[in-house]
Symmetry: C2
Subunit: 419 residues, 2 copies
């Protein structure tokens, strides 16, 4: 039923695997639960859970949920028709939504999405700003992000001291050690430190992440089966990125994100945005497909090399209309995707391989070439031991995932702060 975590008795204090922290983690993952169930899933004794929760309630981190109607048990035998059983009814505990709020920002080519959520992870408000991001310099970008966050705080009447954390997902390359943002196709500036000014402006923890990592976390949070073992999520869209998640967490050597899009398919190939030639991205990303299609097709020019969603939809429509040159283009993209999957499986041997992002809306046209190449490019038994999923997720997955990631960091900080 609910996964029985190995009990870790008689330890304490040390933050992330303190029993306090584990209670919060379980509640975060499995929603409102009564104390008995918390004891079962953490392996702690009832008295321990009782004591810990009463302290957490005193700190206002938890609260007793009055929606006693919702049932937490999966076993229908234990309930009568009203969802009520004999005996003292269980009191459901939840993360107290009023404990504080967090903000998630997704920064992409020509688009800044912002979302504010309460401590339980429910969205309170969100905004979407279309703007020519490549035209911004470092200062303007910071100001813009800060203004967006401010607008969200104001819209939900959130005083600044209630803001617990800010998560920023970026398309591009984030150095996990320094937190600096090295390069992004969405920006003309490079090697900027976005975290620091935002942290100074709000005095809240700022969490940076690659957008593929954010999507990967969002997907793993949504489907518990993906949160077990090693999962690799390839994001196909404006670029081709990858996020790696181990047991539902984005812990990794050097930053959880991979530059899979810049593996080369041959020593000579189409020009990639990165300056090198023959990158997987240069066959598969939307800008590459659109650019190549325009060499033989009459299509409207893309603003700053970046086709809009509408323009990509138009391209797909034309391809489905039966143009053999376009068909060939998408077949090429399918092969490039297969190579990305093959390299990932060969190097990482993940349990789960997830293909996500808007680029997969054209997967029907890539499928044949993709499957054909994949079979040639991966050892059969290796392919067999990896489950491949298609999730042509919409952009909301990024902020969703970023909310989860930010909350996890906020939880940890609080556990460390209160010893």
């Amino acid at each position: 039923m609910i996964d029985q975590i190995e009990p870790r008795r008689r330890n304490s204090g040390m933050a992330r695997d303190s029993n306090r922290g584990r209670l919060v983690e379980v509640l975060r993952r499995q929603g409102p639960l009564p104390r008995v169930e918390l004891a079962r899933s953490t392996g702690l004794s009832f008295p321990a859970v009782s004591g810990l929760t009463s302290r957490l309630i005193a700190e206002e981190l938890l609260c007793e949920s009055d929606t006693a109607a919702t049932s937490w048990s999966d076993d229908p035998d234990e309930e009568d028709v009203n969802g009520r059983r004999r005996g003292r009814p269980a009191v459901l505990l939840t993360l107290n939504p009023e404990f504080g709020r967090i903000i998630a920002v997704s920064l992409r080519m020509n688009l800044i999405e912002t979302l504010i959520a309460d401590f339980s992870g429910s969205s309170l408000a969100q905004s979407r700003l279309e703007i020519a991001t490549r035209a911004l310099d470092t200062g303007a970008l910071c100001d813009l992000v800060i203004a967006q966050i401010d607008a969200m705080l104001e819209a939900t009447a959130t005083p600044r001291h209630r803001l617990l954390g800010i998560g920023i997902a970026l398309q591009g390359i984030v150095n996990a050690d320094t937190g600096r943002h090295l390069w992004s196709p969405a920006l003309s500036v490079t090697d900027i430190d976005l975290a620091k000014p935002v942290r100074q402006a709000f005095g809240a923890e700022v969490v940076m992440a690659n957008d593929a990592v954010a999507v990967a976390l969002g997907l793993c949070a949504a489907e518990p089966s993906l949160a077990q073992g090693l999962s690799a999520t390839i994001m196909v869209g404006h670029g081709v990125g990858m996020g790696v998640v181990v047991d539902g967490e984005a812990r990794w050597g050097a930053g959880a994100s991979s530059e899979i899009g810049h593996i080369k398919l041959g020593s000579n190939g189409p020009q990639c945005r990165c300056g090198q030639r023959g990158c997987i991205e240069a066959h598969l990303a939307d800008y590459a497909l659109y650019r190549d299609a325009r060499t033989f097709l009459d299509l409207p020019p893309a603003a700053s090399q970046q086709p809009s969603e509408a323009q990509m939809a138009l391209l797909r429509e034309r391809a489905r209309g039966g143009d053999p040159r376009l068909e060939h283009l998408f077949q090429q993209a399918g092969r490039a995707l297969a190579e990305a999957v093959a390299a990932t499986i060969s190097v990482l041997r993940p349990h789960h391989m997830i293909l996500a992002g808007p680029g997969l809306q054209a997967f029907d046209m890539m499928r044949h070439a993709y499957e054909e190449r994949l079979e040639q490019a991966v050892l059969p038994w290796l392919l067999k031991s990896t489950a491949i999923y298609l999730r042509p997720s919409e952009s909301a997955a990024i902020v969703e995932g970023m909310v989860r990631r930010t909350l996890r960091v906020v939880d940890r900080n609080h556990m460390e702060a209160t010893e």
Copy 2:
């Protein structure tokens, strides 16, 4: 000086991060240390260390080392010329070599190496058996391995109950979940369970690992700087494999080893042993180089497609003699190696990238093509953030690494067993 590990106070019992376990781990890594130093590097208090060590000594896991002459401090200011300081002299503690013994076996193409070590990791005896491994069936293989282990026990007068663990490193593919050995170029049989019969024969824990992983662990143990962060070790020899080590441990999603050798360089290429075409291994492994060289050169045939060390030495000698066709072959191998490194860096973004194995004895001839291709194939800033090391290690590294790996498992089992 000695790296200060974050103290993890007031927890216990739970095996692998119990404080007992951490003491053993520190001693395993840093050799004989006095109690004061143990307290410093674990962050525990003196009384805690005192109590824990006295219990470990009672269990005969530790002992007081009488080699008081050796100095454990790196700071020369704190010592006088004799290596002695004022005050009560420190009593060095060591892992008690007499606590038990372990055996490491390396199973490769036409070669079985076996080594027996005491609990402190010092080698006591070893053997080397050349035999046509591909001629063996499952039963004969098991019998052979068991006989080799028996011979080692006898040679060192080790009673069976003193054998704490057996580590077996195999060239090929090990399924970490089931422990079964799926495929190896050294064997004609597939999907065999070597661990079970050996475990039954000796009643000791059996640890299986890929040979590249064993080498990776051995290298990380030998050079502490490699044990920090994510390190990827590519082994070039009879095949091309990779081992991934995170913070000195071989923990990984699906088994710590990678099938990097079977990433494809193009959709059509030379035939690989695995049955597919264009694998990196088919350009880089010794059998491929030798096979291709024989198409235009008069060389003695290799026994069961596997050239001997002498034959490979001959090939290198001829190539250095200046045959342009051989030069081209090794350049091709250099490019294949560059692609392997490029794919690894792009996917994993490791802190350390180690190139190891006998195949690198020809690296001087591959170097130019390797460096040229590497620069084209990896994003420059990504290449810059990865340190690449050359370690054309000899075969001893495999058993060395396997000893470390086996001892770690044995330590853990003991910690769990004694609560």
